[in-house]
Amino acid sequence: MKGVPLDWAYVAAFALLGSLLAALPFAVVWLLAPRSSYSQKRLTYESGVIPFGDAWAQFHVRYYLYGLVFLLFDIEVIFIYPWTVVLRQLGPLAFVEMLIFIVVLAVGLAYAWRKGGLEWT
């Protein structure tokens, strides 16, 4: 194993061993901490009032609109990251291509702005 897979073996190790190390102290808690559970204790915190209804309520659509605009602008970076690497080699041609790309997207941003997709109402 070498090259790219080896590089990412480190990443995988960080993910797996990291989770293990992060979970390890739980063993200490399991050994040391007291355990007693009764329904009053497990009540969720609602400023001292007994919780009413379900916490899993529905939320406003504006969260979705921000997520949506984010996702669509996040797609751009697929193309911009490789562009940054070859920009110096390819010169003005690459710049003009990216200019067109971003101007088109700016139209989209302007539309979202005009239509109030970016308003917290």
Partner: protein, 102 residues
């Protein structure tokens, strides 16, 4: 030694699971998730073919990246439709959204 065949089989199995989700799930969001699984399965094949069949021009990588972009667009519009349907019909279960049926 892991070869092309391994990746293709794995992709095919993932595709089948995604298809199963699309065919049997009632919730529209879950169906979208099934579609994402299928798109991922296709992407595995693109990238695997790039490595084993024509590596020089990374054509498969380009295809996979465009597919990821399309998947994101699809998810955005699909989920917008789900939200709109939920607002009007108060359900996201596709077999209950049958206004056009009767």
């Amino acid at each position: 030694m892991i070869g092309l065949g391994h990746y293709l089989v794995s992709g095919a199995l993932l595709f089948a699971v995604g298809l199963f989700a699309v065919l049997t799930r009632r919730s529209a969001v879950a169906i979208l998730m099934g579609i994402e699984l299928m798109l991922n399965a296709a992407n595995i094949n693109f990238v695997a073919f790039t490595k084993f069949v024509s590596p020089e021009l990374v054509r498969g990588h380009i295809a996979a990246l465009v597919v990821i972009a399309l998947a994101a667009c699809e998810a955005a519009v699909g989920l917008a439709l789900v939200i709109s349907a939920y607002r009007h019909l108060e359900t996201v279960q596709v077999d209950e959204i049958n206004l056009m049926k009767w």
